[in-house]
Amino acid sequence: MSRKSALLRWSVVLGVLLSGVFFSLHVSINDNALDLLPDGAVKGDLQLLQRLGLVDRLFITLSVDEKEYLTEAAAQKALKKSVEKLGNTLRANDFFSLVVTRLPQGYESRLFNTLQTYLPVLLDEKDFAEIEHLTSVAGLEKVMQQNFELINSPAGIGMKQQVQRDPLGLTRLLLNKLIHLQTEFSMQLEDGFFMSKDRRSCLVFAESKLPLTDSKGAQTIEHELKNAFGKALTMGVEARIIGSLPHTLANSRSIQRDLRLLLPVATILLLLLLGVTFKNIRAFIVLSVPFMAAPPAIALTTLFFGNISALALGFGIVLLGIAVDFSIHLYLTLSREEGTQEKLLHRIRRPVIFATLTTTAVFIILLFSEVPSHRQMATLALSGVLLAVLFAWLVIPTIVSQKGRKKNSIQPMKCFLSYNASDIRHLSPLLQKGALSIWIILLVAGFLSWPQLRYNGDLRVLDVPDREVLADEHHFNVTWGQKGDQAFVIGVGKNLEEALDVNSLIYHFLRENNFDTFQSLAPILPGPGVQKNNLKLWRQFWQARRPAFDKQFAAVSQNKGFSEQAFALFFHQLERDPGLLFPESLSHSPLQPMLETMVRSFSTAKESGGENQFLVMSTVAIDDDTLPLLLAFAEQNSKIKVLANKKWRAEVEQLLRKDIVLLCFAAGCAIFFLVALQFRKIDVTFAVLAPVLSSLAAMSLFCWITGGELNMMHLIMGIMVIGLSVDYGIFVACSRLTGDTGTASMAVSICACSSLIGFGVLAFAHHPALHSLGITVLVGIGAAWPVALFVSPFLIKKESRVVQ
């Protein structure tokens, strides 16, 4: 190759590389865990959860060690002081919103007064039975006696006005409904603080303005929280956090720890492998070709998606590592086989094109995944592999000198790595039969174990089981007594009125169907439709009873010693139109924090019309019997959404299963047809596919032995292993068919070893996702490699070789 031609090739490659680097510098990376989920209903559900602030909510438990204090009271005082200070610190911090530490002082009387004003629109049909009793003579006698005693008691001075405004105690009927505002947590209110039963812990709620499923956001929030704890917590008070934050941090740190240890190990082993096998500094250029393709591939992916998920970036580059195989094959052929460069390039062109086609076919199929990060991963790997093949084709010939070729020309087989598949004929028939038998046993075992496998689409299996996080969650459950599963039932409306009406509908359903434990705003903030109806009932009730009731009331109250004008306020209220109650009227009430957590509004994306939507949330304790009821109810009304872990886990599992199974099937079919089309002989096709079948069988068998469970990572990497192992079959088969000097087998061995080192070390990772990834490659490639060397050549008939 002329110097000018070599310079031109390098200029093209470096030009593309530099352009790629330039555009990659502006890439926006996000590592939102939601990108791991399939599009559609499930992602919609999670977006709803995010919009309700539930994904980015922090539950902070402050606990006091009483041993640090002389008395229990002193410990509790320190605890409350810490809660107050923490609340003030977080409220002053721009990274947090909706910080709830306690209900405001005097909350009960303020709430009482607010609700009392709106009695006519809040009391519903069921309450009138009770009011009927209260307005009877016996009821009046009893209630007026209680009022008399209350006003004369030490509490009388403070309660006098309330009694004057509501002598029948109708507000108490509303206060009874506040039971539906209690959270599922087992707590008591002490001076407005959310205190545990043992009075050693207080609960603080806060919402992060940064997404907590994103590791950068999570790290910032953790830093801010640590500072806040440092400022606010007094001696003996400690804070524990549960929610998305600790999980995101634990996963991010576990991956970082694993990669910090395993990447250097893999790099050293790879360098050793290349050093031992190539014994040439040029080997590093061979290794660097796929990485030269990475920046332009990243730039192209960003061009399509706007930004790139960190997960897709990481795994995409790992997948791009497949491209090193092409460089190795090219380099070994050009440097170790005899003939002119043109002749050698012509010989290697066919297997390189075939292998590129099968590999890209796998990635093209992955583009149809429902999961955004899979699509990004596939785009990155696809563009990367194509560029890497192009780069390899351009630059590898320029680094192989004639002198080097002669020096490296093929040597007799001395080691396993330089085993020549053409030498299969030299294996004794016994060894050939042995290899074939083992392979058949593997296929049969894999085939039999496959139906036993269970796909677990629950993404929690890929969540790192961090001890500290688990301990904090256990502490939370013990302290706050959280039991069982919960569902979030959301009323959606184009305006607040509509959303509140839907929420009232939900409340009505929950009451009618005897749901015991639920939290709903509807009893104290029904929709306008319900309020209007309540007001109508209220008026009808009093119209039917007055003025007879007034006389009866006057007689009983005066008999108890009350003056004629004592309850003028009450009668004035009976005649007054209070108007409808809207959240704004409660904005300065003690219910404000609850309103903010349960009522939300947002604007839909411009593509969906950019409309405002309002959400009103209820939470319901569910079990296997009640969840289907809720789901059936939601199906009847498109404005009702049910979000439940149980439900969306099942949906995620189902969607991912469908997605992955379809992708695997499509990848399998594509590879089969491509191979069949390329080789057009059953025996050769079978030989090419033998490593693929072996890797699938081995992975199936391994998963069955280790618990019988497949997760998303197994299957995604399974697709990659199919793409890799079919290449082994292609190179070995081409080598066998053309009767060449056999560098293909050595190249396959080096490629397999590099894959085993590069990905296989991840089998030793602590993080479940990395471990699954590593183990899949280790087992799959571990089976495909020997089969490509010892079984595939044996499967190709002599006649086929002659024809070729």
Partner: protein
């Protein structure tokens, strides 16, 4: 105060030497300065009067505090008379009060409707003859917490603490007039006047005035101090006494 008498008042208190002629000497012909001087004098006078009253109040507070500090327990019969616009006539309740400082109090109505309210530290108990006894925690019951705070303020004997949260005034002969400074309390409570026994400085009467003119007067009688009070009075409603 009219202009006719202000110099005399000043001389009476002896805070400014000289008389009105002095004023003329100082400001001949400048009669327009008279209002300014008047203002100055009134301020000075008020300050002097306030200072005297403040001293008197502080002395009185110290005396009742000293007296209170010597009292470990207090038991008394009482009559509560409510004059409320809510009632056609004044309502009179008879009862008994027992206090063991610092945190035990039993407020018992004997007639016309028997009932008991017990505060024992953070815990509380209330009962009447129609319903079973009801326990409560002050921290979890804002209404009872407010009641307890008020009772301890008036009857707890910590008058220095009282001064931190209220405006205090001494009235003759031995009366402390308390006005809440906190607006939320002022909404339902205008003043509280505690009349002390001039001999032993123990409360004789508490009169609570509410905005709008309603009032409650509690008069104590047969008071005994530093008697041994059975513990069960603060743990159960029914007592043998």
């Amino acid at each position: 105060m009219g202009m006719c008498c202000w110099p005399r008042e000043i001389l009476k208190y002896g805070k400014i030497s000289g008389d009105v002629r002095m004023v003329k000497l100082l400001f001949p012909g400048k009669i327009f300065l008279l209002p300014a001087l008047l203002l100055f004098s009134v301020l000075f006078f008020s300050k002097a009067t306030a200072s005297t009253k403040q001293n008197e109040l502080e002395n009185f507070l110290q005396e009742i505090q000293d007296s209170s500090d010597r009292v470990h327990s207090f038991t008394s019969g009482f009559t509560q008379e409510k004059n409320l616009s809510l009632f056609s006539n004044p309502v009179i309740f008879q009862g008994r009060l027992s206090i063991v400082r610092p945190d035990r109090l039993r407020w018992e109505f004997i007639s016309p409707v028997p009932s008991v309210l017990i505060l024992n530290g953070e815990q509380g108990l209330r009962c009447n003859d129609k319903a079973p006894a009801e326990k409560f925690k002050l921290s979890a019951d804002p209404v009872m917490k407010m009641v307890a705070e008020q009772l301890w303020f008036w009857l707890g004997g910590d008058y220095k603490k009282l001064a931190r949260h209220h405006r205090l005034e001494k009235r003759d002969p031995a009366t402390l007039l308390i006005t809440p400074e906190d607006q939320s309390t002022a909404n339902y409570l205008e003043t509280v006047a505690i009349v002390f026994d001039e001999k032993n400085l123990q409360p004789l009467q508490v009169e609570i005035r509410e905005p709008g003119g309603d009032s409650t007067r509690i008069s104590f009688h047969s008071s005994k101090i530093n008697m041994k009070i059975p513990e069960k009075l603060f743990t159960q409603c029914v007592s043998d006494e």
